[in-house]
């Protein structure tokens, strides 16, 4: 086995930003995110990372600062969690319309009250309709690698949208595990410097422009349509980014989805992030007992991999969606998306929602086994 460093998910996120050579970081502390920006601030202070660190007075200002930096032509990074993300939300939406390809790490944490600092996915999923690209990391290696990939995707001229990378609070953020920290030269080979076509301080001033003025309905709709097109373009860009990442680094986290044993699976589990990897770990136990289960880890939630999901579900006789989140009065948020997708693609495989792990409640292998066994009894 190769020799790895052993670092927390938050350190892995900081490494992802560092290896991506971010030039501006603006952030406000919030548990469990804080140690990401602490690490980055430390590197900036020591001169190990050539970036400007802006200590702001709120998350709203943090996002405003990185939007400004990105619009001025530099690569920018921020990170937050839970309430911090909610406080930031006006600017989160602005980053999309302004076409500023910033990258943000979100350490998923439950929303209060009741006050709770532990893992839940509802925070990031509340930004579902903003137009951000969403990566969900299942382990610390993937946290680091997804941030590097996120810059590649976000800054692609066919995309130019911001991207967020999610990691489960404490489950990944404060759990140390082996991570291979990549060689900077290889990352430079993979990720070119940020050269947006349109930034405000572009010396070729005839090309410079920014989005900010009022637009009347007939023009506004066209601009919003261009965001939808960019999001659709992102599908192929993400696939290529994952493929080339694999070629250079020898690591495959999946592209929009990572499939595990789905080929012959009668039951397929869909989930996000570390929850999906927990299902993958449980799958080995179930398979040993002769139960044909597969896991489809939804790595990218926006753009939503509808076609892939429909294909995987079509082969199975039952789908279980594990949601560490809830949309009150509706369903698990991922489950709702999966059901809508299957309807669109005329796939009639039954879908069972399992909401687990709310507010950091530990998702145990036996919970997943129980969910599978209940489906078999039906």
């Amino acid at each position: 086995m190769a020799i790895y460093d052993v670092i927390t998910g938050n350190d892995a996120a900081a490494w992802g930003a560092r290896l991506s050579k971010v030039e501006v970081i603006a952030a406000y502390p919030i548990t469990p995110q804080t140690t990401i920006v602490e690490k980055l601030a430390e590197w900036v202070e020591k001169g190990e990372l050539n970036a400007k660190f802006i200590a702001v007075e709120s998350e709203h200002s943090a996002m405003a600062a990185v939007i400004g930096a990105s619009a001025a032509g530099v690569r920018a990074f921020t990170a937050t969690s839970s309430q911090g993300l909610l406080y930031m939300i006006e600017m989160v939406s602005w980053a999309v319309g302004a076409r500023t390809p910033v990258v943000m790490a979100i350490v998923n944490r439950a929303l209060g009250p009741p006050w709770n600092i532990w893992s839940e996915h509802t925070d990031a999923l509340m930004t579902r309709d903003t137009g951000w690209i969403q990566f969900w990391a299942a382990n610390n290696q993937e946290v680091m690698d997804s941030i590097i990939q996120a810059y590649r995707v976000a800054e692609d001229k066919k995309v130019l949208l911001p991207a967020m990378v999610m990691l489960g609070g404490f489950v990944l953020s404060h759990t140390a595990m082996p991570v291979k920290i990549h060689d900077q030269n290889k990352v430079d080979q993979y990720l070119s410097p940020y050269e947006p076509p349109h930034y405000v301080l572009n010396p070729k001033i005839s090309e410079a422009f920014a989005y900010g003025n009022i637009l009347f309905p007939w023009d506004y709709a066209k601009v919003r349509l261009s965001i939808e097109k960019a999001m659709r373009n992102a599908v192929d860009v993400i696939k290529r980014a994952a493929k080339e990442f694999h070629e250079i680094f020898g690591i495959w986290h999946g592209d929009l989805i990572k499939e595990v044993n789905t080929d012959d699976a009668e039951i397929v589990i869909f989930a996000l992030g570390a929850v999906a990897e927990q299902a993958e770990a449980t799958l080995e136990v179930l398979r040993r007992n002769g139960i044909k289960v597969g896991v489809a880890k939804i790595r990218v939630f926006r753009p939503f991999p509808k076609e892939e999901i429909a294909k995987i579900a079509d082969k199975a006789s039952h789908v279980i969606v594990i949601d560490r989140d809830i949309s009150f009065g509706w369903d698990g948020i991922l489950a709702g998306e999966v059901k809508a997708t299957l309807h669109e693609y005329k796939v009639d495989t039954p879908v069972t929602t399992k909401i687990m792990g709310i507010g950091g409640d530990d998702i145990l292998p036996e919970h997943i086994e129980k969910a599978v066994k209940e489906v078999i009894k039906k």
Binding site: V6, T175, P178
Partner: protein, 188 residues
């Protein structure tokens, strides 16, 4: 191989750091190790749990340890305070910081394998204190290596010196080495 470890200490004693150091040292020998923490409302003196999961293959589990193969206990009162025995497998090993005659302790000597080290005396002797509290976490990592036969004390020393370069690292490395040498494994 698949081993689950619990660290049971008090807030301020460095159980979290100990679990991370152990994981780093094991990784140097090609092992796969997670170091997991439960963060709640910690304060100095309150019981704190940290965990490791160790294997020769990548580990994909992401939950806490509920039944440990090994528990490292910073002082015996913590076992009673936390119902620590309920968090152990039947044939588990307890590695404990204890001064004096272990047969006079309240430990369930007939049920579990026990390894004992007087870490407090070692670190007091070395003057290893933070805010007046003896820092025994690195010594207990040394005791772990002796009791479990892995990782090597050299890997632990390297991990310690990487974490704290200079004098502090050297003191902690010395504590780990002494604890490694002084750990007694008590037969059931």
């Amino acid at each position: 191989m698949f081993i689950e470890v619990s660290w049971l200490g008090r807030g301020g004693q460095g159980a979290v750091t100990a679990s991370r150091l152990l994981a780093r040292a094991l990784a140097k020998e090609g092992m796969w190790a997670q170091a997991i923490v439960f963060f709640g409302a910690e304060r100095r003196g309150a019981p704190v749990f940290a965990y490791n999961r160790i294997s020769d293959k990548p580990i994909k589990y992401h939950h806490f340890v509920y039944k440990a193969d090994v528990m490292v206990v910073f002082e015996q009162t913590l076992l009673d305070l936390t119902d620590g025995y309920k968090r152990l497998k039947d044939d588990a090993m307890i590695i404990i910081n204890y001064a004096g005659d272990i047969t006079k302790s309240r430990l369930r000597m007939n049920t579990y394998k026990i390894a004992k080290v007087d870490a407090t005396s070692i670190v007091l002797d070395l003057g290893l204190l933070v805010a007046g509290i003896p820092v025994i976490n690195t010594a207990m990592v040394g005791a772990f290596a002796r009791a479990m036969g892995m990782p090597s004390i050299d890997s632990i020393v390297t991990a310690i010196l990487e974490t704290w370069p200079g004098k502090i690292g050297e003191l902690n490395a010395e504590a780990a080495k002494r604890a490694y040498n002084e750990t007694e494994i008590i037969k059931k």
